[in-house]
Symmetry: C2
Subunit: 156 residues, 2 copies
DNA sequence: TTTGGTGCAAAATTTTTGCACCGCG
DNA sequence: CGCGGTGCAAAAATTTTGCACCAAA
């Protein structure tokens, strides 16, 4: 079910450790849940999932830990346009891909790999250029295409 | 003060008309405010600006009309990562550029024109490819780079 | 007069905060 | 013991909704 190898899992766990943060049950639950789905969940969805597992923590704990994990770089936060933040597990920096197709009708989110075409190279070159023009230290990016998904365009 | 020509202004006004929506005072206020700043404002900021002008409308009117204007395509909504939606005036489709540098420290947003390099071509080609692969009707897109702006990286 | 639009207040949703308590180091 | 971490409940912030009223076609 997991689409992250054990190597990735331990990378996340170890990173937490590196920042002198304990790998507590709620934190492990969040990382595991996000790793397992590989998708983008809202805080509430994570909370519900975590509640199934014993000791998943309260909602505020989820929020606090998500904030921590995002700050450390283990989880990526983004907003899909419905005023509700989504969280996804971070990949190693050089494998990161925060590129989405977001359906305006049903709010579903498709991840597409940035390995399609030469997107990665394009982004890298673009980051270099923008950094120097605007004197801006770029840490990460997000590319979202909005529209209507296949299913929704049929059912109308 | 305005960075949209009269031609642009009338385009927005006429579009409203085309959809059988009245150009009421609050709507005009929103369009004017967004056109004048040319920047990204939150609903609350628009409300405060509108309140200075007589008859800018209540906050709920602002929200309702923003939703309308976004749906019609005259205003572009996006979320900058602080759980607060921002709105910017739409340009004509072929001139649209929803590309931002967002500072994680001070939440400031820099617009950069997609005319830098061959970004426009790249996006167009990418949209075509993604559409066919995922059977997804793409309507618009957003490219955001997150990091630390010049000012914030000095004041630390 | 009919329908679209507004404004206020109340409600809903998402996220944050205060505080007492728990447990690892 | 001290401090990081948790959980509950209360609060804050943003956005949505209900409803009475207004005004243009």
């Amino acid at each position: 079910m997991t689409d992250l190898s054990d190597r990735e899992i331990s990378w996340h766990y170890n990173s937490l450790n590196k920042y002198c943060c304990r790998l507590t049950k709620p934190r492990r639950a969040i990382l595991d849940i996000l790793s397992d789905t590989g998708r983008h969940l809202s805080a509430d969805q994570i909370y519900k999932e975590a509640s199934k597992i014993s000791s998943g923590g309260g909602l505020s704990t989820i929020y606090r830990n998500l904030e921590l994990l995002v700050r450390i770089g283990l989880v990526w936060k983004f907003e899909a346009g419905d005023n509700k933040a989504r969280y996804e597990i971070a990949k190693r920096p050089d494998e990161s891909h925060h590129h989405h197709l977001i359906c305006k009708k049903c709010n579903s989110i498709i991840d597409y790999s940035d390995s399609i075409g030469n997107e990665k190279d394009f982004i890298r070159e673009r980051e270099k250029k923008l950094s120097s023009i605007y004197n801006f230290k770029i840490e990460n990016h997000s590319i979202d295409f909005f529209g209507v998904c296949h299913t929704c365009s049929k059912n109308k």
